[in-house]
């Protein structure tokens, strides 16, 4: 089998197990909805306040949802011995990383595809624009690129769920800033040219950390 067929086999395995258990997507969606509702109480419902804080709100929700779903990426693997199974397979560690990363990306995008319309509906905001969708996809790639690496690391520590956010959040600071700022510009009706420097930072982050994570991932899962 070629590299990509192995990768897709791992992604397919994750997608199938998700369809059967509905563990990650449904619970994270409920969580995202709860965060949005709680924010609503924290900041009030006045439209000008909502417009001002909407980009931040959106990305706090997605960052927390990301931590929650990425945490689950390796816990079932570890608990049911699947990771050992994958490691004795004739599959490179890099293929495991890419396969798991694509599965997490898929889950996150499904979650966001449902959360964004809810967000638009509850806050009466035009977040369903092409600009916001591009920003969301780009930033999510960055999230899962480092998140998959740190999730595999966290599952091998004693504190598990505690470790991922402590590692993940400081590292993704640049793309959170980029996502919040560019979403704010997009919501206030700016053109693509005004967003470009932020999109470039996010894209650069993605390329760099996909490569770095791919290279160091083998050192994280070895026994």
């Amino acid at each position: 089998m070629g590299f990509w067929r192995k990768v897709l086999a791992i992604t397919w395995k994750d997608a199938l197990s998700e369809v059967r258990t509905r563990e990650v997507v449904s619970s994270v969606l409920v969580f995202a909805l709860l965060v949005i509702v709680v924010f609503n109480f924290a900041f009030g419902t006045r439209q000008e306040v909502v417009t001002a804080i909407a980009p931040g709100l959106l990305w706090v929700t997605f960052a927390f949802a990301g931590v929650l779903s990425l945490n689950r990426a390796f816990i079932p693997e570890k608990e049911q011995g699947c990771l050992e199974g994958l490691m004795v397979c004739p599959v490179s560690r890099g293929a495991i990383y890419v396969g798991k990363m694509l599965a997490s990306l898929l889950f996150m995008l499904v979650i966001e595809a449902v959360a964004l319309p809810i967000f638009a509906f509850l806050f009466n905001l035009p977040v369903l624009s092409l600009q916001i969708i591009v920003i969301t996809i780009l930033t999510t790639v960055g999230f899962v690129a480092v998140g998959t690496l740190f999730s595999a690391l966290a599952v091998n520590t004693r504190a598990r769920e505690m470790v991922l956010p402590i590692l993940f959040l400081p590292i993704v600071v640049p793309i959170i800033i980029g996502a919040v700022e560019s979403s704010g510009l997009a919501l206030s009706g700016k053109a693509w040219a005004d967003l470009s420097s932020w999109l470039q930072i996010i894209a650069a982050f993605n390329v760099i950390f996909l490569a770095v994570s791919f290279l160091v991932f083998p050192f994280v899962i070895e026994e």
């Binding site: 480092v146 690496l149 690391l153 091998n156 520590t157 004693r158 504190a159 505690m162 470790v163 402590i166 590692l167 959040l169 400081p170 590292i171 600071v173 640049p174 793309i175 800033i177 980029g178 700022e181 420097s197 932020w198 930072i201 650069a204 982050f205 760099i208 950390f209 770095v212 994570s213 160091v216 050192f219 994280v220 070895e222």
Partner: protein, 224 residues
Amino acid sequence: MDKNHALKTGLLGLTFVLFMAALYLVFIYVPTEREMGVIQRNFYLMVPMGWLAILAFLVIFVCSILYLKSRSRSWDVIALSSAELGVLFTSLALIVGSIWARPVWGVWWTWEPRLTATLVLWLIYLAYFMVRAFAAEESRGAAFAAVVGIVGFIDVPIIGMSTTLWRGMHPPMIIFQGGIDPAMLLTLIVSIIAFTALYCLLLVQRVSMRNDEIEIARLKKTYS
């Protein structure tokens, strides 16, 4: 062993001389800045500390790569010792920055780009220690920390770029425009060299101390 001792003594002497020179320059030689007054002398403390925060992380980065390649414990010992010094100097840079910000800007903290980037760097340092502490075995903790060291260091320039862009246009670093008084520049350079020598001295000391700790642990295990 003897060679190591000579190195330490030499570094100690060098650091002492450099610091005496830096203290003289900072408190007596250099003119007081016109607008900010005496508080501006913090500059000669904060810039070297910020520099050491980056330098220490560079050492972690290089040693982490070498550790993952060779699995030789000595690289991990250097990386961990450098991380301890790095977090110390990053904390000091943040504290001195706050002390400076208070009289000049009227607040203890401001989300100035470089200050923000330093804070994020400090948080990455914390993560570096946490993965080590939470790892089941020491060798795995070392590998995990090395991964955080590599990813974290690569992230530093991107954090710097994004915080700079985030705060909008701000005056670029005055030093690179030649807009700084030569006396001030001299004081700054001597201060940076003095702090770098201090870092090297502390690093050598900490590494040899940690090697002794490892040796004692090994002996205890053998003879208990």
